[in-house]
Symmetry: C2
Subunit: 356 residues, 2 copies
C-alpha cells in the first residue's frame, strides 16, 4: 500500500467540452503520478502532482539505451456516474513481466493499480462520456541514470499520465485495411516482443509508413524466424474466424499478451464458440480467403477495443472479408466488451474495478 502524497494544481486547465473530437493521445489531464526508484532505496516518494515536464540530464539512459516500458488502459464513466477501470490487474501483471525482461525493478501489482486508481480519482472530472470516448491511462517507466554505457540503470521514474480520448482509428468501428508485412520484422523469439517497451514500436515504424503509403492503416507482422506465421498488428492482437472456429496466434514469446485478447478468448469460450490458440500461417489465411472459409477477422486492443478487418493484403493476394463489412462476432465482442466497460452489460467475469 503506497502512501501517496497529493499536491493539487493551482492552475487547472479547461476540460475539453463534449463537442471536442478528442484526437487520440493529444490532450492530458491536470495531474500525473510520479514515483522514483534508486538502487538501495527501492521505489519511493509516490506523489500526485500537477502535470508537468520531465527534466532529465542529456545523458539519462532512457535517451540512449531504450530502457523504458509502458502500459495502456482505460477508465470509463457509467450512466450512474461511477468510474470503472477494465482489468487493471492484468496490466499490472504484464508490467511486471515487461520489467523483468528489460531489467527494470518490479512494482508490486497492487501498488501499480493503486497509483492508477488514485490518479483517476483526482482527475475524474476529465473522463469524457460521449459514446466511444474514455480516459486513456498511460503508466510508464524510464531509466534516468546520467550514464553512458550499456547496463541496467540504478534510478528510474514511474509515471502515470491520463488523456481523454475518442476513437483510436479515425474509422471508428468501421473495418480497417491491414497490410501483412513480408520484409521488415518486428520481433523474434528470444527478443523483447512480449514486453511492452519502446524498442518494439520503433522497429515497427518503417513498415507502418510503407503500409500507410499504400493506403493501409496497420501492419500485420509475421514471425521473424520462418517469416510464415502470423503474429500481431502494430498495436493489436489479431483474430480470425475460420470455418466457424475462432483462431488466434498462440503466445510464443514474440507477441504482446493483450488484455483485450485474453478477454476476447474468455468471451468466445463463454459463448460456446470453439477457440484455438495456435500457429496460423499466412498461407492458411490466403487459402481460407479463397475458399470462403475465412469468415471474419478483427484486431483486439485497449485503444480500439475491437477493430473489424475488412481487407488483408499479403504480397499480391488481396483478401476481402465480409465484403469489407463488420462480422457478427466482431460486433458482438465490441458491444459486450464496451458494454461491460461502461457498466451496461453485466460483468460476469469480475473484470471491472470501481474507482472511489
Amino acid at each position: 500500500m503506497l502512501n501517496i502524497r497529493i499536491e493539487k494544481t493551482q492552475n487547472p486547465k479547461p476540460i475539453p467540452g463534449e463537442d471536442n473530437p478528442l484526437k487520440f493521445g493529444t490532450i492530458f489531464t491536470d495531474h500525473m503520478f510520479i514515483m522514483n526508484y534508486e538502487t538501495g532505496k527501492g521505489w519511493h516518494d509516490p506523489r500526485i502532482v500537477e502535470y508537468q515536464p520531465i527534466v532529465l540530464e542529456p545523458s539519462a539512459m532512457v535517451f540512449h539505451y531504450g530502457q523504458e516500458m509502458f502500459e495502456g488502459l482505460k477508465a470509463y464513466r457509467t450512466d450512474e456516474g461511477n468510474v470503472l477501470l477494465f482489468r487493471p490487474d492484468k496490466n499490472a501483471e504484464r508490467a511486471m513481466n515487461t520489467n523483468r525482461r528489460i531489467c527494470i525493478p518490479e512494482i508490486p501489482a497492487e501498488d501499480f493499480v493503486q497509483a492508477v486508481k488514485e490518479l483517476v480519482a483526482v482527475d475524474n472530472a476529465w473522463i469524457p462520456t460521449r459514446p466511444g470516448t474514455s480516459l486513456y491511462i498511460r503508466p510508464f517507466i524510464i531509466a534516468t541514470d546520467p550514464f553512458l554505457g550499456v547496463r541496467p540503470s540504478d534510478t528510474y521514474q514511474f509515471i502515470v499520465i491520463c488523456s481523454p480520448v475518442g476513437a483510436y482509428y479515425p474509422e471508428g468501428l468501421n473495418p480497417v485495411k491491414i497490410w501483412i508485412e513480408d520484409d521488415y520484422v518486428r520481433a523474434v523469439k528470444g527478443g523483447i516482443g512480449e514486453a511492452k517497451t519502446g524498442g518494439n514500436y520503433v522497429a515497427s515504424l518503417a513498415a507502418q509508413v510503407k503500409a500507410h503509403d499504400e493506403g493501409y492503416s496497420q501492419v500485420l507482422w509475421l514471425d521473424g524466424v520462418e517469416r510464415k506465421y502470423i503474429e500481431e498488428v502494430g498495436a493489436m492482437n489479431i483474430f480470425f474466424k475460420i470455418n466457424g472456429t475462432v483462431v488466434t496466434p498462440k503466445l510464443n514469446g514474440s507477441i504482446l499478451p493483450g488484455v483485450t485478447r485474453n478477454s476476447v478468448i474468455e468471451l468466445c469460450k463463454h459463448w460456446g464458440l470453439p477457440v484455438e490458440e495456435r500457429k496460423v500461417s499466412v498461407d492458411e489465411l490466403v487459402e481460407a480467403a479463397k475458399t470462403g472459409a475465412l469468415e471474419e477477422c478483427w484486431g483486439s486492443g485497449t485503444a480500439a477495443v475491437i477493430s473489424p478487418v475488412g481487407h488483408l493484403r499479403f504480397e499480391d493476394n488481396v483478401m476481402q472479408i465480409k465484403d469489407g463489412g463488420i462480422g457478427e462476432v466482431s460486433q458482438k465482442l465490441y458491444d459486450t466488451i464496451t458494454g461491460i466497460q461502461l457498466g451496461k452489460v453485466k460483468d460476469e467475469f469480475g473484470w471491472t474495478v470501481q474507482v472511489k
Copy 2:
C-alpha cells in the same frame, strides 16, 4: 554548412585532473550542441549552449516508443597539442542509415561532422591526455512530439554531448571473458539490428546481467533465425584468427557496421593478412578451439578500440585462447589504431580529421 550560434557558459565546471580515473561516461563537459527539427521547417536553430537538462513533456514520444538514435566517436589530443577526430564521416554516414531505418529525418553528413567539430573546439580543454584516455563524443536524436500513438514524430532534438573518458573495460587491454548467448536474441534480419538505436541495447540487458553473474564481461550474440551464426558483442564487433586467416561475421542486416570493424579490416588487408567476411558458426569456433586453429579473438569498437578476448564460453564449451593472453594481431591493431588516433603513427588512410 550550419550557422551555429555559440553561447558560452558563465559557470565553467572544474576540468578533471590527470589523476582522475575518468570512469567511462560519467563526467560531461561544459557545453552541448542542440538542433531542433519540425516537419515543414526542417532542422533548425543549431546552437552550442551550456550543458543543461533536457525538458520534455511526459508524453514525449521518445519515452514511449523508443524513437531515438545515437552515435559514438572520440577526439584525441596529440603530443603537439592538435585535436584529432577518428573517421567522423563514417559515424555521420551510419547515423544517416540509422535515421532512415527508424524514420528520423536525415541530417546531412557534413552538418553532423560540423556540429561535432565545433563542439569539440569549444570544449577542447576537456580532452584528457593520459594514455588510454580521450574525449568520448555522443551525438543522439530523440523524438519529442507530445503524443501517444505509434507513428514517426514530427519534432526531434539532435544533441551532442562530450565526456572525458578512461578505459571502457576496467581490465584495459587485458583480455576479456565473453559469454556466447544461446537463449536471448538481440536482433534479427528484417529488424533494427544494424541501426544504432536504443531498442537493440535494451534487448541485450537481460543476457548481459546473466553473463556478468557468471563472471563474464560481455555477451556474444548468435543470429536470431538459426541461432547458430556469430553476430557481434554487446558494444563491439568480433574478429577471429583461424588458421592464419582473419575472420569476421559478414554484415547481414542485424549487425552494427562498426567504424572500428571497418578500420580493422582495412589494416589487416593492408598488412597482407587474408581477411574473410562471412558466416561464422559457433560450431566452427568450438571445433577450431579444439584443434588449436583458433589462434586469436578480439572485439573492435570505439569505446575500447581493440579488446582481446582470452576466453569464450558456449554452453559447456569453454574456449581458452592464447592461454588467456593477448594475441599479436590484437596488439598490433591496438597499437596502430591508437597510434593513428593520437597522431603517433602515420595516417596512411586519411582517417583522422583535425579540429581547428
